[in-house]
Symmetry: C2
């Protein structure tokens, strides 16, 4: 079984590491010479729109998948029909455009923050008066990790705001004073079977995910599963999907979804019976999916900018290091640490130690390629 992966970052790397024991051969297509995935799998170096290389994948692979949502749609369209592409390119298309995404949430009766389409400056003022303030103004495409968005606290902040995010088209969203952000990592197999990991509870720093904690038994689990199910069935989805949600009271508002393995699911490597990476591969390759049951309690801490000393991490009980083999750079996700524990008190104490060891490494991403989520 051969699986092609568009993109060669840490998500592709962890997919490849999960593939080896299964006897699944992966090949990544990535323009970056020292792609982090290249250390652990075959690497086709070149552009994601290079038709010769795409043709090589189409010819040699049983299925092609992708590790980030900004894969050019024309590449998926080129592959589609020549080779199986999973998850569905339709899911990728919807995930690439905030307006399409929000419109879909509405159509599927999944609550979201109120929003307003912004084509030009005049729409910003209108959005501010209709939705807020405060309002979040976001680019429709290629936003990630807090990039491509501005927070408009007052009506006066609207002037020049669109320019600051690079011009339209954009989307204005009513600011949600949420109690917490959770995400659900779901997986759907080729036969339509659905599995869900326990909710992840996410904390950000400078717009970048810093901590994700597993929440087995969370009271919001059934609602989150219901929303993820609607999305996956709509797309006849195969593979892992992540849905980010804001909790307000007893409601969950959908923020965005990602048609791929997700940073907030990295804890599943040690914290679940089967990791999101293995299950994504199993699903897209047409196999049955493994149990998503949690093994105790888990927290994942991102290492942003630089890695802590390995010795100091390994001295923390229940700590598992994940070094992506990247050159350190401010704002770059260079690794993560997973902590497992059998009770909340142990987990809390271990988390405190790892947060301390990785403090000061969080900073805004320097370039889009650095912050592959």
């Amino acid at each position: 079984m051969k699986v092609g992966i568009l993109g060669g970052g840490q998500l592709a790397r962890m997919l490849a590491l999960a593939a080896h024991p299964l006897g699944i051969e992966t090949t990544v297509l990535c323009p970056v010479e020292d792609a982090t995935a290249a250390a652990v799998t075959r690497h086709l170096r070149g552009s994601l729109i290079d038709q010769r290389l795409l043709g090589e994948l189409a010819h040699g692979m049983d299925v092609v998948t992708y590790e980030f949502e900004n894969v050019p749609l024309e590449s998926l369209r080129f592959l589609d029909g020549r080779v199986a592409v999973q998850p569905s390119p339709r899911a990728l298309a919807a995930g690439q455009d905030r307006l399409a995404e929000k419109t879909l949430f509405r159509a599927l009766d999944i609550p979201t923050a109120d929003f307003h389409v912004v084509e030009g400056e005049a729409d910003v003022a209108r959005a501010l008066s209709v939705l807020g303030p405060p309002v979040l103004l976001k680019t429709r495409r290629e936003g990630y990790d807090g990039k491509g968005q501005v927070f408009l606290k007052a009506a006066a902040d609207g002037a020049g705001a669109l320019e600051r995010i690079g011009g339209g088209p954009a989307l204005a969203e009513a600011f949600v004073a949420f109690e917490r952000e959770v995400s659900i990592i779901a997986v759907r197999d080729a036969g339509g079977g659905l599995s869900f990991y326990p909710l992840s509870e996410n904390t950000h720093e400078a717009g970048i995910l810093r901590v994700a904690m597993s929440r087995p038994g969370d009271p919001m689990q059934p609602l989150a599963e219901d929303y993820a199910r609607r999305l996956m069935e709509h797309f006849d989805y195969v593979g892992v999907l992540a849905l980010e949600l804001f909790q307000v009271g007893d409601s969950l508002l959908a923020n965005e979804f990602a048609p791929r393995v997700h940073n907030s699911g990295h804890w599943t490597i040690e914290g679940a019976e089967t990791s999101q990476f293995e299950n994504h591969l199993r699903a897209v390759a047409g196999f049955s999916v493994g149990s998503t049951q949690a093994l105790g309690l888990t927290a994942m801490v991102n290492c942003i900018g630089e890695l802590p000393a390995l010795a100091s991490v390994l001295a923390v009980p229940g700590a598992h290091m994940h070094d992506y083999g990247k050159v350190p750079r401010p704002g770059r996700k260079v690794g993560h640490v997973t902590l497992r524990a059998d009770n909340p008190a142990d987990l809390e104490a271990r988390l405190g130690r790892i947060l301390h060891l990785t403090a000061g490494t969080a900073a805004p991403a320097a370039t889009p390629a650095d912050a592959n989520t």
Copy 2:
């Protein structure tokens, strides 16, 4: 941190897979072109006694370790002094010679079966009269998986027996009618700190390990730990060591030890907080060792000769496939399946299914290189 590994079989492969997330770079030295480890790490192809390649390892690595016990001692002697070699070459030397091994067990007050040194035919008859019958006649070197030994049921079986195992020097051992075979996987860090995995209970087929089950809380655990501790402290050992023991009543008799990660510890990948592979690397690289705590109950089943269909394995709850990427061949260890469960009934049911799927694949190893334990 760079770790060289002598040998490129499945043990090296699983060490390399455990090394990537730690940011530890491994290089294997192995004469086999399509060494199974080469798919996941850097491969120096050549003889284990090639001084140019050994020099390359000595020059480029922080520490060198080994994945099988028949590494030529002169290679370790060449490396020793030029680069750190762990575990100690003294442990390897003792493990390579059944007489040295048994003599050491005696010296450390670790019980073993009675034995008798065999230099020639006359010693076989003497051994039969002193120790038995029945008696096991074994080569002193390079035995593995039931190779290089004959079972002498009656005094008359002694004639020609030595020739059948390739001539002397050999060792005759009193046959032990043991109740079960267990092994303990132990790890000692560079500071002398000791950790022990729960006992493995092992079942063989045609002389090859077929099933290893984790036995957390086994009443024989303290005694097994005590024996492993004596061995490791004797060698000032650093890394993972496996000690195979026969249980007779309330006693444990040492059969043999292996100065390396071991087939009966493969279940630790999913069944323990930290795998034997990660802990071996952490120990030899000078880091602290991770928790050896069991996660539920685990059974490991070897796939011998050929692999079962992946889809059929993945359909079993709690099953985790480990394909070594080897060409199938009778008697060859080509992969293993780990089963995890939260209770004995589930484990038993899952084990039954996997044994059925892998039935008929067990057969004697064709060549020594096939049966790296």
